[in-house]
Structures are given as C-alpha cells and as structure tokens.
C-alpha cells in the first residue's frame, strides 16, 4: 500500500491550487464566500490569494486549499487503452510484416455533423502530429481518411468497399452528448448489418476515454495525448490476435 496526497513543497502537505468564478460582485463578502465554499469541499485550510471583478455580477478567485484526503496508489487501475508502451512506426511496420503478412487497411472519419478534422488528421494524415507521423505514412498500412461530417452509414459502406481491418471514429464536439449518440448509432448500424465482428472499432477524441468507448461497444478509445503510434499498435496487435 502506497498512500499519496498532493505535494506542494513538503511531503503530505496536501496543497491544492484552485481558480473559479462566482456569480456575485467582487469584494470582501465575495472573498469570504469563496473561502467558505472551498472549506465546504473538504479542504482543511483555505487562503483566497486573489479576486477580481469579471462583470458587475461576477467575480474571479484564486485560492489555495489543504486537503487531508489521500489515495492508495497501488489500488489504482488506469483507464488507458494499453498498459504497454506503444511501438514506434518502424516497429509497427515490422510487426505487420512478421505477424500479419499483408497491408493493414484502416478507414477513419469524423462522423455526424462534427466538422472538426483536427483529431482524425492528427492520427491519419501523412504529416501526423507533434513529430508522430500519421497512418498514411506507414508503408505497411493503407489508410483512408474520409474527413469530417461523414454519416456513419457512408463510413461503414466505405470500410466494406475497401475491405478495411479497422474503422477509426473521431468525435471532437461533445456538447449535448452528440458524441455518444453518434458512437452508439455507429455500433448499432454495424450490428444491424451483421458486420460488428468484421472490423476493429476505434474511437478517439479529446473527451473520449477507453472506458466510455468500450461501454458503447468499441474495441478501444483514445483520448487526449494519443498519437498514431498508439492507435497503430493497438490495431495491429488486436488484428494478430484475431487471425
């Protein structure tokens, strides 16, 4: 058992930095309200170090609190797609040559009304993102990026046409849970067509966790900070497992 607390400058001091807005005017009363509010969240100690007016009826606070809460670090299970470190692009290609022996076909799109290609582009485009090349660059992969605002139906038809091994669904907009509706509809459509087992289904987006994706029927979900190598590693390992 390894018990941990937030660390300020001394082990176990439990120091936490907070900032927030209250819908009240700035002033002594507002600052006291902020302090009491922080204490009500279970902090043992609170200092409001800064306040400023945002508008006539809104004010901004920076506060420090001290918590006594702790967590047993050993008991924590992470919601990550893969516990292993991902393979690099070269390693993935080598893995495909050795274990699959043909090109791996991947189709991806940002589905529904979501117009943001940034996520799917980061994973698929030649250029990639932050010095991680995209799947189009992988010599042992055939990658088709259909772009944004692609209906689920069209994405599935395309995947069937090119005989895809994996389908990547990107969802950036999550307002009013549109991503959940979209992702659910995607899986339901696949199931209705009897195609769910044919494809490895990968979801991705800044607010998509592995847990959520798996709950909705995907094989895996990738959130913030995932790169093409992470997606490629999962897809090829899963494919080798399936074969």
């Amino acid at each position: 058992m390894k018990v941990v607390r937030p660390y300020g400058d001394t082990m176990d001091d439990g120091k936490v930095q907070l900032s927030f807005t209250l819908p009240v005017p700035d002033g002594a009363k507002g600052r006291e309200a902020a302090r009491k509010l922080v204490l009500s969240w279970g902090f043992k100690d609170c200092e409001v170090v800064h306040s400023a007016p945002l508008a006539a009826e809104f004010s901004f606070y920076v506060a420090y609190g001290k918590t006594e809460s702790s967590i047993d670090y050993d008991s924590v299970v992470a919601d990550e797609a893969s516990a292993d470190a991902s393979m690099s692009m070269d390693e993935v290609n080598e893995y495909i040559r050795r274990n699959i022996g043909r090109k791996v076909v991947v189709v991806g799109a940002c589905t529904g009304f979501d117009a943001h290609t940034v996520g799917i582009d980061a994973i698929m485009n030649m250029k990639g993102y932050n010095h991680h090349f995209g799947l189009e660059r992988y010599p042992e992969m055939e990658a088709y990026n259909l772009g944004a605002q692609v209906p689920n139906e069209k994405l599935i038809d395309y995947a069937v046409k090119v005989n895809a091994d994996a389908i990547l669904v990107s969802q950036v907009v999550t307002q009013k849970d549109t991503h959940i509706h979209n992702m659910t509809e995607f899986i339901e459509l696949l199931e209705a067509k009897g195609l769910r087992d044919k494809f490895i289904c990968v979801a991705g987006g800044p607010r998509i966790g592995n847990k959520l994706a798996v709950e909705l029927g995907f094989d895996v979900g990738f959130g913030r900070g995932a790169y093409a190598d992470d997606v490629a590693t999962f897809v090829v390992k899963k494919l080798a497992e399936k074969n």
């Binding site: 945002l54 809104f58 307002q175 009013k176 800044p206 913030r224």
Partner: protein, 523 residues
C-alpha cells in the same frame, strides 16, 4: 511607413500582378454565373422574409418553386418573379411573404409589364440600400463619437453557447471586460446548410445558428453595452458556407460590423464546390463592401492543417488572392481584414523570430488592411499554464507589428468552450502586454540580414514561386490538383454544385446592378 524588412517593392508588385492574372479567368466565370443563394440573397434584400410552418425560408420557397416549374427559369434571376407577384398582389411585402409561406407559388402568375416591374424593383433597391447606408453612417458616427476608446489592435472575443439569450449575457460580460469585437460562432455544420434558419434559436452544437433574428438580438444587446462603456462594440458573424451572400445580406441589414469571408475557405476546408464558392463570395463581398463590413479571411486554416513554418508562403499567397478578389468586389483595403496566425510549433528554435517576421511582413505588404491575427490553437494542450505563455508571446507579436484585429487566445483552448474567467484572463494578458510594449513598433528596427529580415524575404520568394506555379496551372486546375492546403477538390465535386446557375441573356438582378454601380465595379 518605414520598412523594417526592406522587402523588394518590385517583387511585391510582381506577386500582386500574379494574383491579378490568377484571378482574372475566375472572375470571367463568376461574371457569367449566379447561384441559388445569390438569388435568395437578392430576394431577402427585396423583402423576402419568414418561413413555412415546417421551417423552409420564404427565399428558398421562391427559388425552389421557380426551379421546379422550369429548371432553366432561374437563368433570368428570381427577383423578376417576386416583384411581379408583389405588384399583382397589391404591393404588401409582408402579405406576399405570408402567402408564399402558406404555399403560394409566384410562378403561377404570368409576368406583367416589364417596365412596371423594373420601376418597382428600383424603388425596393433604393429603400434597402438606404437602410444599409444608414447602418453604415450610424456605425461611423458612433466610432467618431467614441474615437480613441477602442483598443489597438481591436480585442476580439468569441461567444458560443448555442443559445442566443445566453450568448447575450456572455457577450455583455466580455464587452465589459474590454472586448472591442464579439463574434458569435456558428453551430457546427451550419456552413453546409443550403438555407438560413429562421427566428431566434436556443439550441446549437458548439455554437449558435446565424439567423436574422439572432443578429438583431445580439446587435441590440451590444449597442446597449456600448452606450454604457462609451465604446463601439463590433459584432461579427460568419458569411462562409453555402449561404455566403444571404448571410452577408442579413449582416448588411442588421448592422454587423465584421464577417468571416474567405474566397476559398469553403472549397478547401468545407468541401463546397469551387465554382459555387467563387460566385457566392463575389456577391457576398459586394454586399460587405457596400455595408462597410470588415471581412476576416481564413488564412489561419492553412496553418492549422499544415506545418506553420513550412507552409508560411501559403498564407501570403492566399492573402494576395483574397485581396484581389476583394478589390474585384469593390472592397477598399481598409475593409480587408486579411488573416494569419501564430501557429508554429512552440519547440521550434527561434519560432518567435519567425512569427515576428511573418506578422511584420503582412503589415508591410498590406499597410492599409486591418490585419486579423489569430492565436495559437494547434499546439494548445491541456496545459493551461503553457497555453498562457504562448498567448503572451502571441500578444507581444501582435502589438509589436501593429496588427488590426486581435483574436484573443484562450488558455483553455482544446479543453472546453471558454469559461467567463478564461476570457477575463485573456483580456488581462493582452492589456498587460500591449501596454508594456506600446512603443515597440515605432522604436525597434531589425538587423539587416538578421533572422527576422531573412525569414520574410524567404517567405516572399516562396510565395512568388508558388503563385507562378498556380498561374501556369490555372486556378481551377490548381485546386483540383491539391496545390492549396494539400486538399484535392474536383471541379464538379463538392457540395452545392447543383445550385450554380448560368446567367441567361435576360438575367435580371437589380441589386447586383445597383451594387456594381455604387461600388464603381466596371466589368
């Protein structure tokens, strides 16, 4: 203005000449064509307003019914039919709109006396143009009255709740915090709707529908804050997508002050047909010009989809093309808010110098344009502290190169739509930096052949090479081959192609004629 970069004037002139030659054949095409949304924009200016019980706007009903009755009939323009129906139904626009919304088909009436129709149309055009001119004069009057009270560059903030009534509260708070420009970002996918929704809206995804009623509500709210602050607050919306001209028409009538309007954005980044976009941007820009609306072009998109250092020349190339298309639509430089962005990789050594070089280059090549400078977005992560640092340097470059319109970076970019405090922190950061480096632009010069100067010369050279290639290839083929933004867009592909209309010999558009006359466009 003294040049700090010592850019060769003859090369800059040559780059402009290339832009002129590239856009000339495109303009020939534009002049021979209209589109369903150009016709609908004209109808809206003539008074077509309202919607059927299931939400189809009156302007769409008229155009769709003309096309249904005779697929070729739109080549004469839609206005003649609308004005004809107006004359024959007693001249009450509102009553006619109600009848059309309830199912009345304007093509069911035979065309009456041509001279009477044209006389009535001229009367309507005069009335609408007077209203738009009145808006322009009102704005100019307020800017004069409160002269010197806006920030320089203008601080630009976005609201995007989906609910226009919630947007109003956020916008008022943002203006009270110091914003000079409020943009109401649109709901995801509105750019792909081939109609403009009707009425006030309270639901949207990642933004709020652009509707005429929403424009009106926000305009009134900002005018109220402006009176309190004694500072004119500009309102921005998006004339991009399949309804560019209609949204420009609504913006002209409801006194918007800025509109996103790029000659190629729809083609490259929204997969809208190229011919349709070129035709639509022309009419929308004539309206923006007449209304005194500053356009914001979308060069930042080239940098978010490609590497900002390697593809810097695509920004200057696009600025030159946008400028030329703007001039062709009668737009003066002081309405051309040409875009660019601070999007280089923060780990790039000397990245700040390169950003400074490119911003200064834009300033020197377009000295009279209110340049629209966009903040870092691509390399923003969940690290809000790093985000603040990047925004600080962005603010520095903007002030140090005297940009015109400054879209404030949000420390929570890539996390969520801005909290009220995020906007406050953004304004505070900008004000701190801009006050602290106030005299930088006038005081500081760059080392001859240093990093900054060399970079600007390099980008200009690359831009000229690129434009020469585009000129040789031809604009339409260049887009088809993916020369712009690495996007290949087939000529007859993309959305909205079926809405393109070849003008017939009897094509009649009294607004187009009047705008060309007023703006001095001779072609």
């Amino acid at each position: 203005m003294n040049s700090k970069l010592n850019l060769p004037a003859d090369r800059v002139a040559y780059a402009r000449e290339l832009a002129e030659r590239i856009t000339a054949p495109v303009q020939d095409f534009i002049d021979g064509h209209s589109s369903v949304t150009v016709e609908r924009a004209t109808l809206r200016l003539a008074g077509a307003d309202g919607a059927s019980p299931d939400g189809v706007p009156v302007a769409n009903l008229v155009v769709d019914r003309i096309r249904a009755a005779d697929p070729a009939a739109l080549e004469d323009g839609a206005t003649v039919r609308y004005v004809n129906a107006l004359l024959k139904s007693g001249g009450d626009v509102r009553a006619l709109n109600d009848r059309i919304a309830a199912g009345f088909d304007v093509t069911s009436l035979p065309l009456g006396d041509r001279a009477a129709i044209e006389a009535k149309a001229d009367e309507i055009v005069a009335g609408t143009l007077a209203r738009i001119k009145g808006n322009r004069e009102f704005r100019e009057g307020k800017l004069e009255q409160w002269k010197g009270r806006n920030n320089s560059p203008l601080l630009y903030l976005i609201v995007a709740t989906g609910n226009i009534y919630e947007d109003v509260k956020q916008a008022a708070a943002a203006a009270e915090q110091g914003a000079d420009v409020i943009a109401v970002i649109r709901t995801t996918a509105q750019s792909l709707l081939d109609y403009v929704p009707y009425g006030a809206t309270t639901e949207g995804f990642g933004g709020t529908y652009a509707t005429q009623e929403n424009f009106r509500i926000m305009r009134a709210a900002l005018d109220e804050v402006a009176e309190k602050q004694r500072r004119y607050i500009r309102l921005t919306n998006y004339a991009s997508g399949l309804c560019m001209p209609e949204i420009a028409a609504m913006g002209a009538v409801e006194r918007l002050d800025m509109m996103l309007n790029d000659s190629m954005y729809g083609i490259l980044f929204r997969d809208i047909n190229m011919y349709r976009t070129f035709v639509d941007q022309m009419f929308s820009r004539m309206l923006n010009s007449y209304a005194g609306v500053i356009i914001n072009t979308g060069e930042d998109n080239y940098l978010t989809t490609s590497d900002a250092y390697e593809k810097a020349y695509t920004v200057l190339a696009s600025q030159l093309l946008n400028e030329r298309f703007g001039f062709r639509a009668g737009m003066p430089s002081n309405l051309l808010g040409l875009g660019h962005a601070f999007e280089m990789d923060p780990t790039l050594k000397n990245g700040f110098m390169y950003e400074l070089a490119e911003a200064q280059m834009a300033r020197e090549i377009f000295p009279d344009c209110p340049l629209k400078y966009m903040p870092p977005t691509k390399h923003m992560s969940g690290d809000i502290f790093k985000g603040t640092e990047m925004n600080t340097l962005f603010n520095f470059v903007s002030k140090a190169t005297n940009q015109g319109i400054h879209l404030l970076g949000m420390l929570t970019e890539a996390i969520h739509t801005p909290f009220m405090m995020d906007r406050y922190l953004a304004v505070e950061n900008a004000r701190y930096v801009m006050n602290y480096v106030d005299g930088f632009y006038d005081d500081v010069e760059f080392k001859k052949d240093g990093i900054v100067v060399s970079r600007a010369h390099q980008v200009l050279r690359e831009t000229i090479e690129f434009l020469e290639h585009v000129e040789k290839t031809g604009m339409f083929d260049a887009i088809e081959q993916g020369l712009f933004a690495e996007m290949k867009r087939p000529k007859d592909g993309g959305k909205g192609f079926e809405g393109l209309v070849k003008k017939g010999p009897a094509y009649y558009n009294p607004f187009e004629k009047a705008l060309k006359r007023e703006l001095g466009i001779v072609r």
